[in-house]
């Protein structure tokens, strides 16, 4: 079977004609398979949604219980027949509940990886490579300059700075789903057991992670008691990156602006955002992870989407692997 007949880009998203479903559609459709809960992949308003239970829970938290006409949960490693197309979900290591979706018909298997990473993360199920004929990979950090350091070293730099500037508050910008909880968990694993303050936008998701058995320690809302700006001196405050540009941030004493993101690898980006303490922590694969994964899944063909497609396509060409960019629209990489 021609792989382009099994999955093809459409304005709504990646479409499977024989199965009649979309993967991570950006517009409301009849049948949607969702890889993970980030808002550019998981949108509300579909008639029917198939995803992991955790992804469905996260969608309900973000959009309300009526986020879709109906929904169905699928476990990791389980498969389902959708109009003669076999679909199965496999851990992607990106955020809690995130999945790669394998689509199979007439002996041809395509894996749509969604967003994924390979390194250890105790807040997400570890990535499992799935052998396939066509591998659809993300390319958020698909340039050889992106090679994320060990996240524990980054957290050590944060904690060192907290020790150096006990009179200042450290504001750590982190995407609300996944990154924030991972950063908090890493801080805990580094032995920091004081209260961590969080922005209101993180509350529900942190509570959800805790309810799924991920211990984040003592979290308190970063609200200010009357006249006690000083209570945040020496504190770590985690919030969404946008909150720190807001007036909200003025309640903290002489804040150290920090940001946990793969983009922090590039100094110009760091300076543009006015970040004083960049933490290179990403939930996406870096260059080495991307190429290792492509080798590992042994795909004869690679489709590259959202990000810097050209470099990864070039690398595949050099390795003699057939590759092409898949021009899907509507996925953001800036929020990482």
């Amino acid at each position: 079977m021609d792989p382009h007949r099994l999955l093809m880009p459409r304005p709504e998203g990646l479409y499977c004609p024989p199965g009649g479903f979309f993967i991570d559609p950006v517009r409301p459709v009849a049948r949607a398979l969702i890889t993970h809960g980030h808002s550019d992949h998981a949108r509300s308003g579909h008639e029917h949604v198939l995803a992991t239970l955790q992804t469905l829970d996260i969608m309900a938290l973000r959009y309300g219980a009526d986020f879709a006409g109906s929904s169905q949960a699928i476990g990791f490693g389980k498969s389902l027949d959708v109009d003669g197309v076999k679909v199965s979900f496999h851990p992607a290591g990106h955020v809690l509940g995130s999945a790669q979706i394998a689509v199979e018909k007439d002996g041809l298997r395509i894996v749509a990886s969604g967003d994924y990473k390979r390194r250890p993360d105790s807040t997400a199920q570890a990535f499992e490579p799935v052998k396939c004929d066509v591998f659809i990979t993300e390319a958020t950090f698909a340039l050889p300059v992106f090679r994320h350091p060990d996240d524990r070293l980054e957290i050590a730099r944060l904690l060192k700075s907290v020790g150096q500037f006990p009179e200042r508050a450290h504001l750590v910008g982190a995407y609300a789903l996944g990154k924030a909880q991972r950063v908090i968990k890493l801080i805990r694993e580094a032995g920091y057991d004081k209260t961590i303050y969080i922005h209101g936008a993180l509350q529900k998701l942190c509570d959800y992670y805790k309810s799924e058995g991920i211990d984040l320690g003592d979290l308190q809302p970063a609200t200010i008691e009357r006249g006690s700006k000083a209570q945040f001196a020496g504190a770590i405050v985690v919030g969404t990156p946008s909150a720190f540009a807001d007036r909200w941030a003025r309640r903290f004493p002489d804040p150290v602006a920090s940001f946990a993101s793969g983009w922090m690898r590039i100094r110009q980006r760091v300076k543009q955002r006015g970040v004083e303490l960049p933490l290179i922590i990403s939930d996406h694969s870096d260059w080495d992870e991307l190429i290792d994964t492509i080798r590992e899944v042994k795909a004869g063909e690679v489709w590259v989407t959202h990000g810097r497609e050209e470099a990864l396509v070039r690398w595949c060409e050099l390795q003699g692997i057939k590759a092409r960019p898949l021009h899907l629209v509507g996925y953001e990489d800036e929020a990482e």
Binding site: L143, P144, V145, E276, W287
Partner: protein, 534 residues
């Protein structure tokens, strides 16, 4: 090396002066000798290598990586050294890094390398480093290390670290050599204070405050001497046992640029004065004449003849073995007059005192000075000792033109027509906010008042110091310890609700470029507010 690299990155991203001081002190505490001294030398520009050219880096990469992938990477990052630091090791089979490299080892091996084997030595060091250390190393060897730490700030950090006064460090500084182990031993309380470290050392200078009307009401004319404020650059000419040095007022050694003057410094003394060009007693050149002599690496005999340098003496700090700084001004002045009379009259003369009876009379003279190279008058309390820094009270400056302000360049925009490839429109600001953490507030925009030569220099400065771009506009580094001071002249000042600063200038133009002046010494917004009230 990793600790040094971390320090650099943090210093680069931190604009707060206090935070920089903390970071440096913590580093001095953590890092062993000789690393910490080498780091100090690197941040203060006292560490240099046979520069590795960009072509060498490209050649190193060409052997290690697909050209197209490197081109994509460089295109994205925009900085060659940073790109190389990030992609280095992409060809390696494993990503384990064998052993660490100390800053001392890196410096030693790079210093020992000849030009021809420098690339090989560099590559073998990079192989053993993490990305941040690779970046620091590449910036060191390509000469592109700009950290945002002035020598002055580094000295302050050393002083804070050792719990001594910054003037003590400043005095010693010129006799010390990297890696400064004797200095650190003293600051750690494990060694004697380095003494007689060098001949002809720098003495921290005494500065004045701008006079305000309320000051004149409080002080008595008979307590003060007045003298002209000459429009050159403030210097200190020091000679001791045949060693002569000329220092800027921040303690930078500028002797190399003025061999003609150095030749005449065959005395044992330290003179505080104004560096000017011309022939004393005959004519005194303007500031733009003087600029022909500043910041030159090569000083041709022709230029020395055309613009001979001399010092117009204000004060005598040391004569022979006598430190005069504790003496009152009036006594130092007598010693100065006698001393200068013995010097080469072509290279040294005396800045005359200006007799006056009351402030009104002085005001008249100030408004109509006898010489175009006079920019105002100085008031010096007759009984004042020479105190480093800017004490309030003993010395005042009273400038001729009330409508100039020293501002810091903040943004530059490309011009139009034949200036379209130049950054020729300048937005400048003055300081506001707390003293220890000042911020710049824009107060105006100027696009003329400079020569074509100056435009080229400005354009280069802006390109070298860009921190951000917005279309045709560049944001230029402007921090207390790193920034370009522009003396802006203007015809008047109005209140404005449309501007964040609350003031609007009439007819602002660049009066001159103060390459010599540290950014933190530019004016504060209060100076402009005071002009509004006047």
């Amino acid at each position: 090396m990793d600790r040094f690299a971390e320090l650099l990155d943090r210093l680069l991203l931190t604009s707060s002066r206090n935070a920089k001081l903390t970071l440096m002190q913590d580093y001095f505490r953590e890092a062993p000798d000789p690393d910490r001294g080498l780091a100090l030398a690197a941040t203060t520009g006292n560490l240099s290598f046979n520069a590795v050219k960009p072509g060498v880096l490209r050649a190193l990469m060409a052997d290690r990586m697909d050209e197209t992938l490197f081109a994509y990477s460089y295109d994205y990052v925009g900085d060659l050294a940073e790109t190389v630091s990030l992609v280095w090791g992409i060809d390696a089979e494993t990503d384990t890094i064998p052993g660490g490299v100390s800053l001392a080892e890196a410096v030693e091996r790079l210093h020992a390398a000849s030009r021809s084997d420098a690339p090989k030595v560099l590559a073998s060091l990079l192989d053993r480093m993490e990305a941040a250390s690779r970046f620091a190393t590449l910036k060191l060897v390509t000469g592109g290390l700009r950290v945002g730490v002035s020598a002055r700030l580094a000295k302050q950090a050393l002083a804070d670290y050792g719990g001594v006064h910054v003037h003590e460090v400043e005095e010693l500084w010129h006799g010390l050599e990297p890696p400064y182990e004797n200095l650190f031993a003293w600051l750690d309380g494990k060694g004697e204070k380095p003494v007689h470290a060098a001949l002809a050392m720098f003495r921290p200078v005494m500065l004045s405050n701008a006079v305000e009307d309320s000051d004149l009401a409080r002080i008595e004319p008979e307590d003060y001497a007045a003298e002209w404020k000459w429009d050159g650059i403030r210097v200190q000419a020091v000679a001791e046992e045949g060693v002569a040095r000329l220092y800027s007022r921040t303690g930078d050694d500028i002797s190399g640029t003025f061999p003609d003057l150095l030749e005449a410094m065959d005395f044992d003394a330290a003179i505080d004065g104004e560096l000017l060009v011309g022939v004393p007693g005959d004519h005194t050149g303007t500031f733009s004449d003087l600029q022909q002599r500043l910041n030159r690496k090569v000083v041709t005999p022709k230029i020395q003849k055309q613009f001979p340098a001399f010092v117009r003496a204000y004060d005598l700090l040391q004569e022979g073995h006598d430190d005069l700084r504790r003496l009152p001004f009036a006594e130092r002045r007598k010693r100065l007059e006698a001393f200068v009379a013995k010097l080469d009259p072509a290279r040294f003369d005396l800045s005359p005192l200006v007799p006056f009876d009351d402030w009104a009379q002085l005001e008249d003279m100030r408004r109509a000075p006898r010489h175009p190279v006079i920019e105002g008058v100085m008031l010096k309390r007759l009984d004042s000792p020479y105190v480093p820094g800017r004490p309030k009270g003993p010395w005042f400056k009273w400038k001729r033109d009330p409508h100039t302000v020293d501002a810091v360049l903040m943004y530059a925009q490309r011009g139009h027509g034949k200036r379209s490839s130049y950054y020729s429109d300048y937005t400048f600001g003055v300081w506001t906010g707390p003293e220890d953490q000042p911020e710049l507030v824009p107060v105006g925009k100027a696009y003329f008042g400079f020569t074509d030569e100056e435009l080229k220099l400005l354009d280069k400065y802006i390109r070298d110091n860009t921190i951000d771009r917005f279309g045709p506009v560049r944001s230029v580094r402007a921090e207390p310890d790193h920034g370009l001071v522009i003396e802006v002249a203007f015809e008047g000042l109005n209140r404005s609700t449309r501007h964040k600063s609350g003031v609007a200038m009439r007819f602002p133009r660049v009066s001159r470029l103060r390459w010599d002046k540290p950014a933190h010494e530019a004016d504060r917004i209060e100076t402009l507010y005071a002009m509004l009230d006047a």
